[in-house]
């Protein structure tokens, strides 16, 4: 560009000349920026503004506004006004031009003009920097309204003179475009993005022009957009539901929710996220929630896990969406549990405990995995599951006769796992099964009943040394301890200890024997093993029958007693003959080289050893020699007859007075070792009945000790509160009934532990 043509700034005091010069420059920035603007022109324009603002007095229209006292460099109001007028004129033209365009064309036009305008605004703002820094700044500092820096002035003018005229049509075009996209067409998303950005830029904070607000965007964009969204999905979902299954609808709704969430990221302002989500949930989920819930039972019945998960995801997002589902779920699980038990019950009285426990576990496992997979393991659903399980574990067909049936069966099943036998499980498998037992145990209300049966059976396993493994026993006890506390397993652990101590004791006894016995003794020595069991810890009773032990055993027993009393002075030993056992050899049978070995109970041993002296004995002789009660003697003789160890005369008669028993020299068996120590059926039944009886007694004691304990610490207490407190303390063992608690309170009143004061208060009597 030739230097000679370089424009000169107009005289600085002449407003008209100044503005004419400036307007020309600004116009080329606004309309022909793409042609470029050279540095000199730019500099001159800048200088013109500077000159004018620093002139002593400007000649022209603005003269009367001259405020001498403000000083020379604070001129500018005239320029500011003229600039505003210029922008209005420009935007007026743009407005008129915009009318030629519609829909996407309009959007393109808007965006084009917006970019041109805002780009120019930045340049112009720069040209007027001096004005901004001094005059504008002072006006703003003085609190003048409607005075902005030059860039902001551009935005204000855009909003007033252009945006106000076109925003409705623009939004219409935007919404049409979005609807097209929702209908599956491809659109130019960047257009919407630009519109959004423009709307956001127009949000000016009246109080602080350096800040922007989202008000314009919210009012002119969000509102109509949300409105359109609502209408769109209302129509769509209504139609979809009418034509498709609920399952299909849920898929659709979920997809739509995802889509709208993505839309925000693609071209909307993040401010809208919550508003949009809420609207979509309201229209897509809440409006159809009744329909969805009605489908819940169908999905449960058909175990449609994926669809259940989808329903959970949808309803979990609306207020109170899941509550009705939880109630239905609980009922469903309970019914499933009851049905499973019902099926076991059809087997009659003879089903295996395993069947019962497996049935309970199966239902639990199925619905636990449903809760985890479909319901995200949500705690409220877990609670519903627990409630349902507790119900069907404690109250079902099999428990109908007695609520203590569940814990009894569970204990029996545990026993079958921990007892050595044909069906022994692998170690890792066993541990897994014990964990499952604890799952059922958790739901058992009568935990004291389980404890009773468990300790009986543990006692047997320990005494008969037929535990599958010490590790498994310890593992089970520690699980129970974890669940119910130290007190619950105290006795079980003591039993374990006794067995351990007995092992050492036997070793010591053998050493002692070495020292004490003479040769004569040694010849007649029996191979023996003793277990000393603490009376307070073991659920064992002395024998119910008299028994004269055979002399061979008596000698050994007495020797052990001597040893034991020597060690522990003042203790008392009671021989539990009914639990003892041993092995005898059949030297009298000549048909085999190796004699048979009979595994027998001590009672049986007492009978058989009599035949060392004679080959046949009459019933009453045996009875006299052993002193055994008929109800013990007869079944044992029956076992011998059945195994053909003995034969009866007259032949085929049942054991009883008058029958003679003969030693069978022709005894034959495939095995060398023959087990004759078989539990007698009637014993088993008696045991179970006894256990139930002691449970009632123990509960009374437990209630009374709880009452005394509470009253001792509280001294005085309202009756109602006392009852509540007792329930709290006792419920981990069994669910107490209020009348039972009252009965025990009365019992304690009679015993003068507590007394009734006026106003239903109970007091402790020290």
């Amino acid at each position: 560009m030739p230097a000679l043509n370089m424009p000169q700034p107009p005289p600085k005091d002449d407003l008209d000349a100044t503005w004419t010069f400036l307007e020309k420059g600004i116009n080329s920035v606004m309309l022909k920026l793409e042609d470029g603007i050279d540095m000199q022109t730019y500099m001159v324009l800048y200088t013109t503004v500077h000159n004018f603002c620093t002139s002593q007095k400007a000649v022209g229209n603005g003269q009367q506004h001259l405020h001498t006292h403000r000083g020379a460099h604070l001129q500018g109001e005239e320029l500011y006004k003229l600039l505003g007028l210029y922008l209005s004129r420009h935007l007026h033209d743009v407005s008129r031009e915009s009318q030629k365009h519609t829909e996407e064309g309009l959007l393109a036009f808007y965006i084009r003009e917006w970019i041109r305008y805002t780009t120019a605004a930045k340049y112009v703002n720069h040209l007027f920097r001096y004005l901004n820094r001094h005059w504008v700044k002072r006006e703003i500092d003085e609190g003048k309204k409607n005075v902005y820096d030059v860039y902001t002035l551009h935005l204000v003018k855009w909003k007033e003179d252009f945006f106000a005229n076109v925003h409705e049509k623009v939004m219409e075009a935007v919404l049409n475009l979005i609807e097209k996209q929702r209908n599956g067409e491809t659109i130019e998303q960047s257009q919407i993005k630009s519109i959004v950005d423009s709307f956001v830029s127009l949000g000016l904070d009246e109080n602080d022009i350096t800040k922007s607000t989202l008000e314009v965007y919210r009012f002119y964009f969000e509102k109509p957009f949300i409105q359109a969204t609502r209408v769109y999905y209302e129509n769509e979902s209504r139609q979809f539901v009418a034509e498709n299954s609920v399952v299909e609808y849920m898929k659709k709704a979920e997809a739509r929710l995802e889509e709208e969430k993505a839309r925000v990221g693609l071209y909307l302002h993040p401010d809208i996220t919550k508003y949009l989500t809420d609207t979509c949930l309201d229209v897509l989920v809440t409006a159809h929630s009744a329909l969805l819930r009605d489908e819940f039972q169908v999905l449960l019945d058909n175990e449609r896990q994926e669809d259940l998960a989808r329903m959970y995801r949808l309803l979990s997002r609306i207020k109170d969406g899941l509550d009705p589902l939880r109630a239905k779920f609980e009922t469903h699980v309970r019914k499933a549990g009851l049905a499973a038990v019902e099926k076991v019950a059809t087997e009659g009285e003879t089903f295996e405990p395993k069947m019962y426990v497996d049935a309970l576990l199966q239902v639990h496992t199925r619905y636990q995995s449903l809760v985890n997979d479909a319901f995200n393991g949500e705690s409220e659903f877990v609670r519903s599951l627990d409630n349902a399980c507790r119900e069907f574990v404690n109250r079902n067909t099999i428990c109908k006769s007695s609520s203590t049936k569940s814990p009894e069966l569970l204990a029996r099943y545990t026993d079958s796992l921990l007892k050595k036998g044909a069906k022994a499980a692998e170690e890792s498998e066993l541990e897994e099964m014990l964990v499952q037992i604890m799952t059922v145990f958790k739901y058992i209300e009568d935990k004291d009943v389980f404890q009773k049966f468990y300790s009986k059976m543990l006692a047997k396993r320990l005494v008969h040394v037929n535990s599958v493994s010490d590790d498994a026993e310890t593992s089970m006890i520690s699980k129970l301890k974890e669940a119910c506390g130290f007190e619950y397993t105290n006795k079980l652990q003591r039993m374990f200890q006794d067995i351990q101590i007995s092992k050492d004791l036997n070793a010591n006894y053998r050493d002692w024997q070495e020292k004490v016995l003479d040769d004569e003794d040694r010849k007649k020595l029996l191979d023996s093993h003793f277990q000393v069991l603490g009376t307070g810890f073991w659920p064992l009773n002395p024998p119910t029958t008299d028994f004269l032990a055979p002399p061979e055993i008596v000698r050994t027993a007495e020797r052990f007693q001597t040893f034991y009393f020597d060690k522990h002075n003042g203790r008392k030993l009671t021989w539990l003959w009914q639990l003892c056992k041993g092995e005898v050899k059949t030297n009298y049978i000549k048909s085999t080289k190796v004699p048979y070995t009979f595994q027998v109970s001590t009672f049986q041993m007492g009978i058989l050893l009599l035949f060392n002296e004679t080959d046949s004995l009459e019933y009453s002789d045996i009875q006299k020699a052993t002193s055994l009660a008929p109800e013990i003697l007869e079944p044992n003789l029956s076992i011998f007859l059945k195994a053909k160890v003995l034969t009866a005369t007259p032949e085929g008669s049942k054991p009883g007075p008058g029958v003679v028993f003969n030693l069978n020299y022709n005894f034959k068996n495939k095995k060398i070792k023959v087990n004759l120590n078989i539990q007698i059926k009637s014993e088993q039944k008696v045991e179970s009945d006894d256990t139930h009886k002691t449970i009632e007694e123990d509960r009374k004691l437990l209630l009374q000790s709880a009452i005394v304990r509470i009253m001792k610490s509280r001294k005085k207490m309202k009756h109602v509160q006392l009852v509540q407190e007792v329930i709290q303390q006792v419920k981990s063992r069994f669910p107490p009934k209020v009348p039972d608690i009252k009965k025990n309170i009365e019992a304690l009143m009679e015993k003068d532990y507590i007394e009734r004061l006026d106003g239903d208060e109970i007091a402790y009597i020290a």
């Binding site: 309202k718 009756h719 109602v720 009852v723 209020v738 009348p739 009252k742 009965k743 009365e746 009143m749 009679e750 009734r756 239903d760 109970i762």
Partner: protein, 270 residues
């Protein structure tokens, strides 16, 4: 000495009226007992100063009814008791008789001790037979009318009627006492109502349950229960979680069952 407050003056007047003592003695005893009139009067009578006149007079009356002054100088036996009660015009089969027993802290039916006799009568200011007659008469009126008095006498009946060495009251005796206390004929409170024969049902119910002995708590709570039923016969005050003894809870359901079957009674009529 500081002037007395109005209340204190009133206490002194009460004290004097009761004991016939001098004002100075009254204020001395009252101050020593923190102006608690009852305690002060009690202490006055215990003291040599106060006990002399009245105690001597009551003691003299006591002496007249002793059965065997040599063997048992401080006790009135059954015959003396009957004579005494006759003289103060109290029937043996009325509640007021138990009221007198309660007043005199009788150790068992038809027995009085000197200590109980003297303290009892002194506490109500009776030192002559005519005064005792009028006190008995007022007791006769107050027992059915004042629940507090009734409760005191009723509760005293439990240890009084108990067989020696027993903790509980035999059913037959308890039933008899309930008949006495819970009917108006002999100075008790009416329990049966036109709509519900409470007393009859209660006895019938216990009878059906096997006539078990009645313990102290049940004895006392039956009277509380009676007051409740008199206030409201529909059991609105009852709840299974309440503090009632089990026997009363069961009685409530028993009554409800009975009421719930009006048909049976109608059938009886037919």
């Amino acid at each position: 000495m500081p002037p007395y407050t109005a209340a204190q003056k009133q206490y002194i007047t009460q004290f004097v009226n009761f004991t016939q003592a001098k004002d100075a003695a009254a204020s001395k005893f009252l101050r020593a007992h923190n102006w608690n009139v009852e305690e002060a009067i009690d202490a006055y009578f215990q003291s040599p100063q106060g006990s002399s006149g009245v105690t001597a007079a009551i003691g003299k009356i006591f002496d007249e009814y002793r059965d065997s002054p040599e063997d048992n100088p401080d006790g009135i036996g059954i015959e003396g008791a009957i004579r005494f009660l006759g003289d103060i015009q109290v029937r043996l089969d009325e509640v007021a008789c138990l009221g007198i027993a309660e007043l005199l802290n009788s150790p068992s039916m038809g027995e009085f001790t000197r200590e109980g006799f003297v303290n009892g009568w002194r506490s109500v200011g009776c030192d002559s037979v005519p005064k005792m007659v009028s006190h008995a008469e007022s007791l006769r009126l107050r027992i059915p009318a004042e629940p507090e008095v009734f409760r005191r006498v009723y509760r005293f009946a439990f240890p009084l009627c108990r067989m020696q060495g027993q903790r509980n009251l035999q059913f037959d005796i308890a039933a008899e006492q309930w008949q006495l206390f819970f009917t108006p004929e002999n100075g008790g409170v009416q329990w049966n109502t036109p709509t519900t024969p409470w007393l009859d049902w209660w006895i019938t119910y216990l009878d059906e349950k096997g006539k078990r002995p009645v313990n102290k708590d049940l004895w006392e709570q039956v009277e509380v229960f009676l007051r409740k039923t008199r206030a409201d016969e529909s059991f609105s005050w009852w709840s299974p979680d309440g503090a009632w003894p089990g026997a009363l809870d069961e009685f409530v359901s028993w009554v409800q069952d009975r009421r719930g079957k009006p048909g049976t009674e109608a059938m009886d009529v037919e």
